[in-house]
């Protein structure tokens, strides 16, 4: 039991990464009403942009990080232009298939360029951390938690308290009506893709020093972030955050107390349990209530 606080700290930190990527999922569900299965690859792309800028070009870490996030923003717009825009009026399924195709393409592009060997990136700070009681606060894990908390708070404020956030919600709920009110629907959707990609990219950069940078990082994070969405309630911002934390904690505790090789399975066991007990997720609304 003495390990529990340390494991919870690690679990919350890893869960923060899933929460950030899950937030990207939710934003696109809420603004464009689509599920982007390449969301995990956004994390992989962010990490590889960082490899190019920091390890390849030798830029200072902070500058490389800012540029990588900016590049991810531009990448998000290009992604929307290619995978979403031509199919926007054809329903959800073609867009979902398009994002799955893009995910496969991106992973293989990286594989062809960098090969299967993992790349190494340093953390945000040089120091290794400090002790609080008997919990070692690793600086990278702590940075992930702090950045996630700040971003989540900012996103909540934007969505709930600003006109832009309300316009995004309106666009998600009824795109035609939003346009009738004069809301620039296209800009709203492309902006969401850009922010979503930046968020995913940042998650990839933050987790890179812990997991290493490899092609598989995208699929692993993406699938767990998707599971976080389902656990929290599809399309719910608080749900995505809590779902991310739950998966991070469950898989860390499961790995420590049950089995390391089955670490990834715990997230999906949790997903199955939630679907059986509460199919709408922790924060989801029952469909009947929406009618």
């Amino acid at each position: 039991m003495s390990m529990l606080p340390q494991l919870l700290f690690t679990g919350v930190s890893i869960g923060s990464i899933y929460a950030l990527v899950a937030l990207g999922f939710v934003l696109l569900i809420r603004s464009a009403n689509i599920v982007n299965f390449a969301q995990g690859e956004f994390s992989m792309m962010g990490a590889y942009f960082m490899v190019i800028l920091f390890a390849g070009l030798g830029l200072p870490y902070a500058l490389a990080l800012v540029l990588a996030v900016v590049l991810m923003t531009v990448f998000g717009v290009a992604f929307a232009w290619i995978t979403y825009w031509p199919l926007r009026d054809r329903g959800q399924v073609p867009v979902i298939i398009s994002t799955i195709g893009a995910s496969i393409l991106l992973a293989n592009l990286i594989l062809a360029t960098y090969g299967p060997s993992p790349q190494v990136l340093p953390g945000l700070f040089d120091g290794t951390g400090f002790l609080v009681g008997n919990v070692f606060m690793d600086s990278q894990y702590l940075s992930i938690i702090v950045i996630t908390v700040v971003l989540v708070a900012l996103q909540y404020l934007v969505f709930e308290k600003t006109m832009v956030g309300k316009k995004l919600q309106a666009t998600s709920q009824d795109r035609e009506m939003a346009a009738l009110l004069g809301i620039p629907v296209v800009a709203m959707i492309f902006g969401t893709f850009a922010y979503s990609a930046a968020l995913g990219g940042l998650a990839g950069i933050l987790v890179a020093p812990i997991l290493y940078v490899s092609v598989g990082i995208g699929a692993m994070i993406g699938v767990k972030a998707f599971a976080a969405n389902i656990i929290g309630g599809f399309g719910s911002i608080p749900g995505a955050i809590c779902g991310g934390f739950i998966i991070g904690i469950v898989e860390t505790l499961g790995a420590a107390y049950i089995s390391v090789p089955y670490k990834d399975a715990f997230a999906f066991v949790m997903l199955i349990v939630v679907l059986l007990v509460r199919p709408q997720g922790l924060f989801g609304e029952r469909i009947a209530e929406k009618a």
Binding site: M163, K166, A170, E176, A179, L180, L181, I183, P184, V185
Partner: protein, 243 residues
């Protein structure tokens, strides 16, 4: 002064032409009713004006600007508001936020001014005041219609398009809705009203157009239409009109 001029408007869906060379005008300060049976092309006319019908030809001039072919949001920013059939509120947003979003066509307005405008709108619709923090999906049909009209008025429109505002409402609520339409005119807003309830529509309108199968059957002042046998029998109900 002509605020809206529609000339030779033809609109087509996959099934064929819905509007076949429609002409109509709306003058500044008027309430103009668009009447006709189901499928006559009333709603399509409003949707074509707002840029929501892909295959249209002819001419639509609004406040001197040719708007045919313009994007829907750009047309809204010319201060043309549309309260569509079925209310189309944003169900996951509150009454207050739904009303606030009506101002989206005026992006430069300060936050404090918008708050004052929403408060003023809630004064104009006092029934909505206690419901302002309720989610739109929890409202009754009549309450939803009030919110939809309030949202339309938040655009401070030169022209308000109202599509079937009485649809699905009880008689007392319908009377309340039409009282509000009269009050909107008193505020100086021009209204183009599509309505199946021809009796109520003619009671508030300055002029009316009657459509049939996508073409104009007849137009004129309400008195003239009340006395037109063809219109009276087809759209106004013989007994009610002769009363």
């Amino acid at each position: 002064m002509k605020l809206l001029e529609v000339e030779g408007l033809t609109a087509r869906y996959n099934a064929g032409d819905v509007l076949k060379g429609l002409d109509l005008t709306v003058d500044d300060g008027e309430i103009v009713a668009l009447l006709g049976s189901n499928g006559a092309g009333k709603t399509t006319t409003l949707r074509a004006i707002c840029g929501l019908v892909p295959h249209v030809s002819g001419s639509i001039r609004f406040a001197g600007t040719q708007i045919l072919g313009m994007k829907t949001a750009a047309i809204a920013r010319l201060d043309l508001a549309h309260v569509p059939e079925g209310r189309r509120l944003f169900p996951g947003l509150t009454v207050r936020d739904n009303i606030l979003l009506g101002s989206s066509n005026r992006p430069g307005v300060a936050r404090a001014d918008l708050k004052r405008e929403v408060d003023a709108m809630l004064d104009f619709f006092p029934d909505l005041k206690p419901l302002q923090h309720a989610y739109a999906w929890t409202l009754s049909g009549g309450q939803m219609q009030m919110v939809a009209v309030a949202r339309g008025l938040m655009a401070k429109p030169k022209l308000l398009l109202l599509d079937e505002p009485s649809l699905g409402l009880g008689p007392l609520i319908v009377q309340q809705v039409f009282r509000i339409i009269s009050q909107i005119r008193e505020r100086g807003t021009t209204v183009l009203l599509v309505e199946q309830n021809a009796n109520m529509a003619l009671s508030v309108a300055d002029r009316a157009y009657v459509l049939e199968a996508g073409t104009l059957l007849v137009s004129g002042k309400p008195d003239a239409l009340w006395n037109n046998d063809q219109v009276r029998m087809a759209y106004l109900g013989g007994l009610a009109a002769s009363a």
